[in-house]
């Protein structure tokens, strides 16, 4: 059996890989002009879903809806039966969690296929390896029906030309009122659609995330025990709080993660969220005075000993430190709020998590809150006949069914019985459910973020209050929805260099002069080009 396969395969492989050699000189690819890549498109209409009332409604400026309890009457998302019957759909995406059990042993996955009307084949890759897998899959040419695409600055292969060549322009299906055919996609706010636009068309589906981003979480229980005010108003007060909260003898420190700590310092000064746009001119945060001040402040924090001594060298330990009280303040993403309670409440007695807004730098310099990316990533759909595209969109529409529907319940809490039990009207995951619902539907598309925590409904109003406060001070990143080839190619490289330097300066290992040199080099080799590209893109798009 082996020999014929090998011989035939050998020739095929030789032909496949060798074709490039035979046809040398064929390098006929020309990238499209930036103006075209960033052209605007008519966005989908925003038609909010109003099926499930709440006293904490979503707002136009980006506050997520909050719910204390799941409605008693679960709304059937598709009363007329499964919406996307037809051949199976392959979706390539990623996962942060351990992989879920395969479909034949996964009650939630099976029920999901039934609910959608066709087999959803998730091809899962561990998150860190995704860019590699993405590039390789593109090169192979045999694409799944839909793929998760990380934003260009995390995935250089996400070029507008690639989208144009291989993926469907969804504009005819989704722009303006056309999106009403897919009511749950129409329920996704406009902010999340902006990054889906390339080449003057809608090329992707959003995976919405809350723009309010996350707060600095505080261990209220521990701070109260020390009689400290958990809510500093200025950098000075914050610094004092850090000092007071630190007790090396008890292995307790104020802060852990140097990256998010530095982000917090930047926000205290209202510094740019990567880029700042004024009258069409772009400034990167590396270049700002705020950045240099934040470095100084970071060094002060380290010198004062309020940063965990291992903070600069550990990998992925910060959440655990926050959970076991080795650090008492921790800036993190919005999803961490519920996670902290789920994971650490059983082991941390009296766990009480509060939130802190970035304190103002001083009276003259008010703080801001960096706006979170409106999407984690986007979902692109392989070119296909119209009927197939419609089927896929209907399936994705089903995956975007919002809170209160059976679709939402199924995606997040699985099947009643094996995956969750009811407490009142609220689903509580069983161990089996916890393993099964990691099926990454949330990395295909998603409904808008909803504040809801069945185990501890009383925390939801606090989460809602945080979002209301946060959206008033949001600092957007003007480049979020735009494409710059230079940024895609260079930002990670410089990101690493600057991360290394930033950690160095914050520890006093590198000088600020070195930082300034690096910024000059960045400008010369990448920054000024990026700026020009973004300014042009901005002018084209808005």
């Amino acid at each position: 059996m082996k020999t014929p396969l090998t011989r035939r395969g050998f020739l095929a492989a030789a032909a496949g890989t060798g074709a490039g050699l035979a046809l040398t000189g064929c390098g006929d690819f020309e990238p499209r002009p930036a103006r075209l890549a960033n052209a605007k498109a008519e966005l989908p209409a925003y038609v909010p879903y109003r099926g499930v009332p709440t006293d904490m409604p979503a707002t136009a400026d980006g506050v997520s809806a909050g719910h204390r309890h799941f409605p008693r009457e679960v709304v059937a998302a598709f009363p007329d039966g499964p919406p996307a019957e037809g051949p199976g759909i392959k979706i390539m995406n990623l996962i942060f969690n351990p992989v879920p059990p395969p479909v034949d042993g996964n009650a939630m996955w099976q029920a999901l296929n039934e609910y959608v009307g066709c087999d959803l084949g998730f091809e899962i890759t561990p998150v860190g390896d995704y860019p590699q897998k993405f590039a390789v899959t593109l090169a192979g040419g045999d694409l799944p029906d839909a793929m998760l695409m990380l934003p260009p600055d995390q995935n250089s292969a996400a070029t507008p030309d690639m989208l144009d060549a291989l993926f469907e322009d969804l504009t005819p299906h989704l722009s303006g009122d056309n999106v009403r055919d897919y009511p749950f996609l129409a329920n996704i706010p406009t902010d999340s659609w902006l990054p889906c636009v390339r080449n003057g068309g809608i090329y992707a589906l959003p995976m919405p995330r809350p723009v309010s981003s996350g707060p600095t979480f505080t261990r209220l229980d521990l701070l109260r025990k020390k009689g400290l005010d958990p809510d500093p108003k200025t950098w000075r007060e914050f610094f004092r709080l850090c000092k007071d909260a630190t007790d090396p003898g008890a292995h307790q420190y104020a802060l852990g993660d140097p990256t998010t700590t530095w982000n917090l310092l930047m926000q205290m000064m209202g510094a740019p969220n990567w880029w700042r746009e004024e009258n069409g001119r772009f400034t990167h945060y590396y270049e700002t005075e705020e950045c240099r001040q934040a470095l100084d402040a970071g060094l002060q924090l380290t010198r004062a000993g309020v940063v965990h001594p291992d903070a600069f060298s550990v990998v992925g330990k910060f959440k655990d430190w926050f959970g076991n009280g080795q650090i008492v303040m921790h800036p993190d993403g919005p999803a961490a709020w519920n996670d902290f309670y789920t994971v650490y409440e059983p082991v941390a007695e009296g766990l009480d998590i509060g939130y802190q807004m970035p304190p103002d730098w001083d009276a003259a310099t008010p703080a801001g809150q960096w706006q979170g990316r409106a999407n984690f990533a986007t979902l692109i759909v392989k070119k296909a006949p119209e009927a197939r595209i419609k089927q896929i969109l209907r399936a994705m529409n089903a995956l975007a069914a919002p809170f209160g529907t059976d679709g939402y319940l199924l995606r997040k809490y699985g099947v009643r019985g094996p995956d969750h039990t009811l407490e009142g009207t609220d689903p509580i995951l069983t161990p089996q459910g916890t393993a099964e619902v990691t099926l990454p539907t949330t990395f295909a598309t998603d409904s808008p973020f909803t504040l809801y925590y069945p185990q501890k409904p009383e925390i939801v109003p606090g989460q809602y209050a945080f979002q209301k406060e946060a959206v008033k001070k949001l600092i957007p990143n003007p480049a979020e929805a735009l494409y710059s080839a230079t940024d895609a190619e260079m930002s990670k490289l410089f990101g690493l260099r600057f991360e290394s330097l930033r950690k160095g300066v914050m520890q006093g290992r590198n000088s600020r002069g070195e930082w300034d040199d690096a910024v000059r080099e960045w400008r010369r080799e990448a920054g000024d080009k990026m700026r020009a590209e973004y300014e042009l893109a901005w002018e084209t798009r808005y």
Partner: protein, 315 residues
């Protein structure tokens, strides 16, 4: 796989050795030298044992103790097998283990056969094609093909999502072949020539003279292959789209590496990544991924006793 020479006397190496260890040459040397050596080995063993005890302890410690310690614990207060039952209940981990065992067994067998043949084929300088093939082998260690062309080749061969993609591309490891070849070449030429004069075919020389004399080295190279197959995850990452077919190491990766967010450092996961799986779960899957392959070594070790060569020559 290959039959052992029937002429080789079934004198167990262990017994041979024990007989010899009584002789003066095997005595452990002067007391201070001996003490120093023992001390050094003891330190080495401790340096390894302590972390491994920590891993095993963590895997059976309750989550409260693990969270309190903020990582590994040295000794579990309240041992529990919760982590193991949680891992094995989903069916994914046990299936992945079967996949890994299958890949390792089949892969090692194929690799060993083809490597032994290749090494033996290259063991006589001057034979037909000897130099160019040896050069190709050597150069393959120095020039490594890129990820994408390898993927394209495997795809052209129709092996995406097939278990063969985890075996055939890594079937020949040049390093192993070269080492095996050097072991083969150290067999006394007189033995081989004697067999040739007797009119033995190359097959029977290989199976009746060379292999019986090379049990230790073949065992070691087999172990190298087995461990490579066992530890491999990257090809599975590229070639296996269906997580149900993943080997153990790739499943392990989603438990241990993923949340480190630096398996490539390319994705901003500093904020917004979910809480990593409990450390006890990570430790448990680590233990599960190590135990099966560790069990292989003693079988190889059996052939590493002294006196093998002399026994055969005398026979």
């Amino acid at each position: 796989m290959t039959t052992l020479s029937p002429t080789r006397p079934r004198r167990s190496g262990g017994r041979t050795h024990r007989a010899y260890s009584a002789i003066p040459g095997e005595s452990p040397g002067s007391p201070p030298w001996r003490a120093l050596k023992s001390l050094l080995l003891l330190v080495c063993v401790l340096l390894v044992v302590v972390p491994f005890v920590a891993i095993v302890s963590t895997s059976v410690a309750g989550s409260a103790q693990v969270t309190e310690a903020g990582g590994f614990v040295l000794w579990p207060d309240h041992p529990t097998l919760d982590s193991y039952t949680a891992l094995l209940s989903g069916g994914l981990v046990s299936r992945a283990m079967m996949v890994s065992v299958g890949i390792t067994v089949v892969g090692t067998a194929l690799s060993l056969v083809s490597s032994i043949m290749l090494a033996y084929g290259l063991s006589r300088p001057g034979s037909f094609g000897h130099k160019p093939i040896l050069m190709l082998l050597l150069m393959s260690m120095l020039f490594v093909p890129g990820v994408i062309p390898t993927y394209l080749t495997v795809k052209q061969l129709g092996m995406i999502n097939s278990y063969w993609s985890l075996i055939l591309p890594t079937m020949i490891n040049a390093f192993n072949v070269i080492v095996l070849r050097s072991f083969f070449m150290s067999i006394p030429k007189e033995l081989l020539d004697a067999a040739r004069i007797d009119g033995a075919s190359e097959w029977s020389i290989l199976s009746r003279v060379v292999l019986p004399l090379s049990k230790a080295s073949v065992g070691v190279i087999g172990l190298f292959y087995a461990v490579t197959y066992w530890n491999a995850f990257f090809n599975a990452l590229l070639f296996m789209n269906d997580a149900a077919k993943w080997p153990m190491q790739l499943v392990l990766r989603t438990y241990v590496v993923n949340n480190a967010s630096l398996s490539g450092g390319q994705i901003d996961a500093a904020a917004g990544a979910p809480v990593p799986p409990a450390q006890s779960l990570q430790a448990a899957i680590l233990v599960l991924s190590i135990v099966p392959i560790v069990l292989v070594y003693p079988f190889v070790q059996r052939h590493m006793n002294k006196g093998v060569m002399i026994g055969a020559v005398k026979g």
